[in-house]
Structure formats: structure tokens, C-alpha cells
């Protein structure tokens, strides 16, 4: 009754509002058709070539989801951050322009790529609300996800007082032949970790650690796997997401992770579109897609990642970023020091 009355009484108002409603409808339709046009354009381009350092299984799941949503194929090239840079630059040097979207866990890369004018400026939808540390004031490389570097260990081999509480605990001789670590020549996050701990303890920390005969693996996800298999008791590093997160939730697992008290390196993993992207529309559509709340929530729930989207809620078993003592390294410094870091690492660790 109330509704009908108000409807009849406001008929004149409705007339007055009609142009506005029409305008709104047109705008909405325009918005929808703009989105349709983007999708159509992306479909016409056919695919998006995505280089990512995201753990393989996660990357593959995400790609499938994009394909199902928009019918645009994602060509996933998963590798370590440093390997991705190598491959993209190597292609480019030969005049091959294949890469659309690049996501590595080495913020220094984006300083380098920008300096070489290889990035396209693009602001993903909703970027103005992104969490601190994920925004790019220049509008090229947006923090897409972040994760801490922690110490994975096997509870069957490490327990009680032996669990390391600080990074320096790993220098004790009892760890000789019992540690594994990911390589900075492959994993970008390790470059950041090395610099972060060098700033705390100097190169001496790494020189001491090398004396414990650390097993070297490539990916930042491999120390967790190696520790789980029992090949080594603990890891000098491990990305605290993906396997390390999901496996630790499994009842009866022997995989655990220690958050050193002297600080955990926090790795930001930005995403950017290449200036020469052969599928620019698909690249933009994909970039918006991976920043939607739905996908960002998926990364937080399924992978244990920290993400840019402010409305994402985190699982109860994740420590709050604000409660962690995190170590963050400035991208410019990473860019400046990365070559020297890798060289020194090889000198200390042999390979």
C-alpha cells in the first residue's frame, strides 16, 4: 500500500527524474558494453602470455579460472623470478616480443624494466584502495601478492629447544649438513632475503652459514619440499605460502615453520604489463581479473598469501602482517645490488 501510494504520488517526480534514469541506464549499459567490448577485444587477441613466479599449481589454477570466466587462454610460464627476467630479456634481445604480463618476486626487476622503458602504465581497477606497500605511485608495477620468508623445519628431526628462533641460530655447528636453501640466481625472494639479513648482520652471517654446508636448491618452494621429504632437517628459507601453508594445515604433517624473532623478510611480488605486450587488451583484462576481490580472496584462503585488496579477510591461522616484525628492502637497493649479491653468494656457497 505504502509503496503503491508513494509510487502514484511521485509520478511527477518520476517524470522529472526520467532523463536522469535514462542517463544512468545508458551509462550502465555503456559500462557493460565497454566491458563487453574489452572482453571481445581480448578474445580477438586470443590469449595472454603470463610469466609468473607464483607457485606452479596455484598459477595453473588461476589461469584455468580466467579461461573459464572470459574464454581467453592464459599461456602460463612459471619459473623463478630471476629466470623469468632472463627469459624475457633474452627474447627481447633477439627481437621477440611475446610476454604480456610479468609477475616476479624481485621488486628490483621493475626498477630495471622501467628504466629500460619496457613497462606499460596501467592502473588496475580499485587500485586507489590497495593496501600499503602494494601501490605504485608511478602506476606501472602494482603489488599483487606478498609473503614472508620463514624457516621451514621437519618436526621429526627438529623439536623443542632445537627449533631456531633467530636467523643466527642457524649458524650453530649442529646444523652442519642439515640445512637446505633456495638459490638467489633463481629465486628473486632470496636476493631480497640476503640483502635484508646482510643489513642486520653483515656478510659475515652468510659466510658463517656457508660453513654449515647448506644444500642448494633452486625454487623458493623447494626447501619446504626437501624438508618434508626428510632430506634436510630445516630450510634457510622458504616462501610461507603454497605448499608450506597448505601442508602445515594438514593434520599429522611433519612440516612446520619458524618465524625468526629478528624479523622475517617480507617479499612483495608486483605485476606489470609489458610496453610491447602483443596482447595488450587481454593483458589489461587479466590484470584487473587478478586484482578482483574474488581472486585476491582465493590467494589469501587457498595459498596463504597476503594481497593488495583491502576487503580481503585472512584465515584465522595466518599471522597479521601488522603483528609480524617484517624486513622490507627498498626496490632501488635490490636493483642496484642484485648482481653483486649473486656473485658473492656463489663465492661463498660454491655454485
Amino acid at each position: 500500500m505504502k509503496r503503491s501510494r508513494s509510487a502514484s504520488s511521485s509520478s511527477s517526480a518520476r517524470k522529472r527524474l526520467a532523463p536522469l534514469v535514462l542517463l544512468a541506464l545508458v551509462l550502465a549499459a555503456g559500462g557493460a558494453s565497454a566491458q563487453d567490448a574489452r572482453v571481445a577485444e581480448a578474445r580477438r587477441e586470443g590469449k595472454v602470455v603470463w610469466h609468473t613466479a607464483l607457485a606452479l599449481d596455484s598459477a595453473q589454477r588461476l589461469a584455468t579460472r580466467f579461461e573459464q570466466t572470459y574464454g581467453v587462454k592464459v599461456e602460463v610460464h612459471r619459473s623463478g623470478s630471476e629466470r623469468i627476467l632472463q627469459r624475457v630479456m633474452q627474447e627481447l634481445a633477439a627481437g621477440i616480443k611475446n610476454a604480456d604480463v610479468v609477475n616476479t618476486s624481485d621488486t628490483g626487476h621493475y626498477v630495471l624494466l622501467r628504466r629500460k622503458n619496457l613497462l606499460a602504465r596501467y592502473t588496475p581497477a580499485g587500485a586507489e584502495r590497495f593496501a600499503d606497500g602494494f601501490r605504485d605511485p608511478d602506476g606501472y608495477a602494482w603489488g599483487w601478492r606478498a609473503f614472508p620468508i620463514v624457516v621451514p623445519y621437519n618436526t621429526r628431526h627438529v623439536a623443542g629447544a632445537d627449533v631456531p628462533h633467530t636467523w643466527k641460530d642457524l649458524l650453530e655447528p649442529k646444523w652442519k649438513n642439515r640445512l637446505v636453501m633456495s638459490h638467489p640466481g633463481y629465486a628473486g625472494s632470496v636476493v631480497t632475503q640476503i640483502i635484508a639479513l646482510e643489513k642486520l648482520y653483515g656478510w659475515d652471517f652468510w659466510a658463517q652459514l656457508a660453513k654449515n654446508r647448506v644444500m642448494l636448491v633452486q625454487s623458493i618452494h623447494d626447501p619446504g619440499r626437501t624438508v618434508l621429504s626428510g632430506e634436510r632437517a630445516a630450510g634457510v628459507n622458504g616462501a610461507d605460502y603454497g605448499l608450506l601453508y597448505t601442508e602445515r594445515r594438514r593434520p599429522g604433517t611433519t612440516l612446520a615453520a619458524a618465524y625468526p624473532r629478528d624479523g622475517v623478510p617480507l617479499i612483495f611480488s608486483p605485476t606489470a604489463i609489458m610496453s610491447f605486450a602483443p596482447h595488450p587488451s587481454a593483458a589489461r583484462l587479466f590484470t584487473d581479473f587478478i586484482f578482483t576481490r574474488e581472486i585476491q580472496q582465493l590467494l589469501a584462503d587457498g595459498e596463504g598469501l597476503y594481497v593488495a585488496h583491502p576487503d580481503v579477510t585472512y584465515p584465522a591461522d595466518r599471522p597479521k602482517l601488522s603483528e609480524l616484525k617484517v624486513l622490507v628492502v627498498d626496490p632501488d637497493e635490490i636493483d642496484r645490488r642484485t648482481e653483486d649479491v649473486k656473485k658473492r653468494f656463489v663465492e661463498l656457497f660454491g655454485a
Binding site: 630479456m89 621429504s229 632430506e231 656463489v346 655454485a351
Partner: protein, 562 residues
């Protein structure tokens, strides 16, 4: 009419030589020329700075030394394994010889990087299955063996290099007449003394030559050191060259570091050639008289056990652990019902998008390279064997020349040559095709050469006398006779392509991955289950296609010896 003969010879040789010259330039001279040039160039012009830099760096010197150590011990260990095995299967009454030969052939087909990977699961110091069993039995804290060491690396590389020694020596032993040995026995020498004082000296050239082949194999290998040496914190030349391509790439240094590997290979092959050419087979006659196998007596079963212990290490254990990892949720855990899964297969084939493209690329490259390679090898072998053009000896030499180029070195040369105009092949499958063809041509040529040596020219001449043209003779007489040999050539090249890693790892781009590269990528990520699935698939595919070729077009090739 002599003039027409001259003209027809001339007509024939021109296209042959032009084609050969062009091919040769594209396959060898261009890449090697660029390699040499880039190794002495810098932004300031010609320089030896790259050499000074790489050979003055203590870290790189160490990589060089590691390679020498590895190659020497692999050579020595391959002899220690290969010589007794060849003698046992070639000369004695050892039971199960057919099976043994088949298994040794199977270890030929196994890519060394897959073997190395399997051995990580078998003999990783803590999680390795064999070490776990050993610890369980002895309650020892120390592992039985640590695969992530130089000796571990030597062990694994030897497992896949000793077949070269074996084949070399088995073939020679077949040529050595047993009457010399019998004479020795009649004069009262013990079996051991006969073996050491008569058989051994006769086979010595082959033994040294086998040693050199195994050394070359170890020098050129990339996958095994990358899987076993890097975790242990040491480099070899090949892994070091690969590292030079990390961003920012140091291609000049990679080129400079490639040259000694190239020279070492060339030198060793020259040495081998001289050994086989001059002293080789002196005193080795044809197959005179019946050969009586030497009775092993009470050592028979012990010897058999020893042989199977070796074959267990090369074939049985690695495939068993790969199969286990392929079907297990966690490879290091016992294979119980709740550890069984098919998810690894689903992931590898349906979720991991790189797999399908890589399989297609690999098949395409394998089939095209094998076909082109077999045709080229056959034509070259035919031309050289029938002396159809002047300078045919040179053609034969050129066909086997690429054997001196290790895969990594070839790849560095091709990378430099074909990432710049006029011919930008990098980023396409063509550059991999060129690499594979160059690498496999010597093997293919050797096989085709043997084939045509076995087809008597009399039959062709009979055809010619009866009025058939050369092409018709080729089609109706030579081709059918040479068929199974050519199919064998095809299979050898195909197998070589499928298992190639050392050149591919430098020449691939994200869009042109092949299976071996995907396996290496997965290794870097630590995806043991997916590697196992893909590795087994790769072998099944290889065997499947080889069998298909043989049943469709001809007869057996691996068993052809028996």
C-alpha cells in the same frame, strides 16, 4: 664416350657440393665462427680480455678442474664396469646374455638427466630410499652413499656412459679370433693369464678408445651435474656456461669458456682416431674358426650377479623409483594405499599447460629431425660409399665433424649466430632443429655408412647393366636392401633428439619448450611427482614410436645384433 662421363660427373657433383656447403655453413661454420669471434670481442674491439677474465677467475678455474676430475673418473670407472661386462657377455658362457644386452641398450635410451634425477630419490643422503634401507639395517647414522658429491656424480654419470665402452669392446672382441687365446691355453696359461696377456693387449686400442668416448660423454653432459653438483655447491664447465646466460647475460664469457671444451673434445677424438687407425686391430683377423665361449665354472653365477647389480643401478632401481614417485602422493613415504594417487598424472597432463605444447614440440622436432637426418645421412653415406662425386672422402669427414662439438658449446654458437640478422631463428623451433640435426648427424651418418657398406654394389651394377637408370636402381634395389639400416638411423636420431637437454636448455624460449626442458623446469621447482610422470611418458613415447617405425616399415633394430 669419355666426355659425356665427365659431364655427368660434373652435373652430379655440383648440386651435391652446393647443398653440402650451404648446410655446413648453416650448421657448423656460422655458429662456430661466431663463437670464436664473440669470444675475442668486447665493446672496445678485439681483445683477449674475456679469456683472461674467465681463466683468471678462481671460481671458474674450479669449475674447469671439477670437469677434468669428473671426466677422468667417469672414463676410468666406465672401463672398470664396461670391460669386464663386455668380456663376460662376449667371451664367456655367462647365462642370460640376450637380456643383458637388451638392458644395456635400454640404458642407452635412458636420458642421463632422468637417471640422475632418479638417483636423487634413491641415494639422497637422508631421504634416499637406499640410504633409508641401509640405515634401517645397520642402525648407522651415516648414509651408505651421498649422491650430492663428486663421487656420487661420477657414479651416476658412469652408469650412463659405460655402455659406450661396452659396445666398443664387445664389437672388437667379436673380431678377435679365439685361436690365439686357445693357443695360449694349450701352452698352459690360466684363463686369467690368457685374458690379461692375449685378449687384453689385442683389445687395448678399443679399450682406450672406449675410455675416450666415456670421457667425452662426461665432458659434454649438462643435466646430471646440474641436478647433482649444484645442490652440493660446485660447478662443471657446462653448468657454468649455462649460468653465464643469467641476466645480465655474459655471452662473451660463455663463448670464451666454451673454447677449451671444444678443443679438448677435438683433441681427444683425434687421439682416438690415431689409436684406432694405426695400432687398431693389429693382429685382429677375420672371424677364423668357431669361437668357443670360455667356461666360467664356479664363477658363473657370481659373475651374473655382478652384471645384474650394475644393470639394477642403471635400469631397474631408477625406473622402479620413478614409477613409485609417479603414483605416490609423497615420494619419500612408503607406498601404502593412502599414499597412492593418480593426481600426478592429472596434474601433469591436464592441469600443467606447458606439458601439451612441449609434447607436440618434441614430437614435431623428433620426427622432422629424424626424417631429415636419416635422409641426409643416407644420401651422404651413399654418395661417399659409391664414390659418386670427386672429394667424397671430404664429405664423409664433414658429416662426422660435428661430433667434436659438445651440445652446450654448439648451443652457445647457435645462440650467437641466430639471434641476429640475417637469420633470426632464436625463438622458433628451427633453431632447435638445426642444433639437433648438427648433433645427431654424425651418429646417423655412422649408422647409414655401415648400412651401405653392407649393400654390395654388384646388385646395383647388375641393375644398371640391365638398363635401369641410377635413380631406378636406387629406388628398386638399393633402397629396399638398405631399408632396415635407414630405419635404424631414423630411430637413433629420434632417440637422440628426444633425450637432448644440453643444447635445448640454452636455445629454448618459453614458446618453444621441449619435454626435456619442461622436466628440467619442474626439477628446479622440486616437482618430483610430475617429473617422474613426464619422464616415464617420454620413455614410453620413445619406445612406442621406435616400435611403430619398425613394425610399419621394417624389422628390429635394437635386437638386430643377436
Amino acid at each position: 664416350m669419355p666426355s659425356s662421363v665427365v659431364r655427368s660427373t660434373f652435373d652430379r657433383s655440383v648440386p651435391v657440393w652446393i647443398t653440402t656447403a650451404v648446410t655446413l655453413v648453416l650448421l657448423m661454420i656460422l655458429p662456430l665462427g661466431w663463437l670464436a669471434w664473440v669470444s675475442v670481442s668486447s665493446e672496445q674491439g678485439t681483445t683477449f680480455a674475456n679469456y683472461v677474465q674467465v681463466f683468471g677467475d678462481p671460481h671458474l678455474q674450479k669449475a674447469l678442474w671439477n670437469t677434468i676430475v669428473l671426466a677422468f673418473w667417469v672414463g676410468a670407472a666406465s672401463l672398470a664396469v664396461g670391460v669386464p661386462m663386455a668380456w663376460l657377455t662376449g667371451r664367456t658362457d655367462l647365462p642370460g646374455k640376450r637380456l643383458i644386452r637388451a638392458l644395456i641398450m635400454a640404458s642407452f635410451v635412458t636420458p642421463p638427466f632422468l637417471g640422475a634425477f632418479a638417483w636423487v630419490m634413491l641415494a639422497g643422503p637422508n631421504a634416499g630410499l637406499l640410504n633409508k634401507v641401509y640405515r634401517g639395517l645397520t642402525a648407522s647414522d651415516e648414509p651408505l652413499m651421498n649422491i650430492f658429491t663428486m663421487s656420487g656424480l661420477v657414479f651416476v654419470v658412469t652408469l650412463y656412459s659405460f655402455p659406450y665402452v661396452y659396445i666398443m669392446i664387445v664389437n672388437t672382441l667379436e673380431l678377435i679370433a679365439s685361436d690365439l687365446e686357445e693357443a695360449g691355453a694349450i701352452l698352459g696359461a690360466s684363463r686369467l693369464r690368457v685374458a690379461l696377456t692375449i685378449t687384453l693387449p689385442l683389445a687395448l686400442p678399443a679399450i682406450i678408445s672406449g675410455f675416450i668416448l666415456a670421457v667425452l660423454q662426461a665432458l659434454a653432459l649438462f643435466g646430471s651435474p646440474a641436478i647433482l653438483a649444484l645442490p652440493a655447491g660446485f660447478h662443471t664447465i657446462t653448468t657454468q656456461i649455462w649460468t653465464f646466460f643469467q641476466y645480465p647475460p655474459k655471452v662473451e664469457q660463455a663463448a670464451a669458456f666454451s673454447i677449451p671444451l671444444l678443443l679438448a673434445t677435438a683433441l681427444l677424438l683425434q687421439l682416438q682416431k690415431r689409436l684406432l687407425g694405426r695400432r687398431g686391430y693389429a693382429g685382429v683377423g677375420g672371424k677364423t674358426g668357431a669361437r668357443r665361449p670360455i667356461p666360467l665354472g664356479r664363477w658363473r653365477w657370481a659373475a651374473l650377479a655382478g652384471v645384474f647389480a650394475v644393470l639394477a643401478c642403471t635400469i631397474v632401481l631408477p625406473y622402479a623409483i620413478l614409477a613409485k614417485a609417479a603414483f605416490a602422493k609423497a615420494w619419500a613415504q612408503p607406498l601404502s594405499w593412502d599414499n597412492l594417487t593418480l593426481a600426478n598424472f592429472t596434474f601433469t597432463f591436464f592441469e600443467y599447460s606447458a606439458t601439451r605444447d612441449a609434447i607436440i614440440n618434441t614430437l614435431e622436432l623428433g620426427i622432422v629431425t629424424a626424417t631429415v637426418g636419416a635422409v641426409m645421412a643416407a644420401l651422404l653415406a651413399y654418395v661417399t660409399n659409391r664414390r659418386l662425386v670427386p672429394g667424397h672422402q671430404a664429405l664423409g669427414f664433414l658429416a662426422v665433424a660435428p661430433v667434436v662439438i659438445p651440445g652446450v658449446v654448439l648451443a652457445v654458437g647457435l645462440f650467437i649466430a641466430y639471434t641476429r640478422p640475417p637469420l633470426v631463428l632464436y625463438g622458433t623451433l628451427a633453431i632447435l632443429f638445426v642444433a639437433y640435426l648438427t648433433k645427431e648427424l654424425p651418429v646417423g651418418y655412422a649408422q647409414a655408412d655401415t648400412t651401405f657398406k653392407g649393400v654390395h654394389p654388384e646388385l646395383e651394377e647388375a641393375g644398371r647393366i640391365l638398363g635401369a637408370g641410377r635413380l631406378r636402381v636406387l629406388r628398386e634395389i638399393t633402397a629396399p636392401l638398405a631399408r632396415s639400416g635407414i630405419i635404424a638411423t631414423w630411430c637413433f636420431v629420434f632417440i637422440g633428439v628426444i633425450r637432448e637437454l644440453s643444447a635445448s636448455i640454452i636455445l629454448f624460449t618459453p614458446a618453444t619448450k621441449v619435454i626435456s626442458v619442461v622436466i628440467f623446469d619442474l626439477k628446479e621447482e622440486g616437482q618430483f611427482a610430475a617429473i617422474s610422470v613426464l619422464g616415464l611418458f617420454m620413455l614410453a613415447m620413445t619406445f612406442g614410436i621406435v616400435l611403430l617405425m619398425q613394425t610399419a616399415l621394417g624389422r628390429d633394430f635394437l635386437g638386430a645384433k643377436d
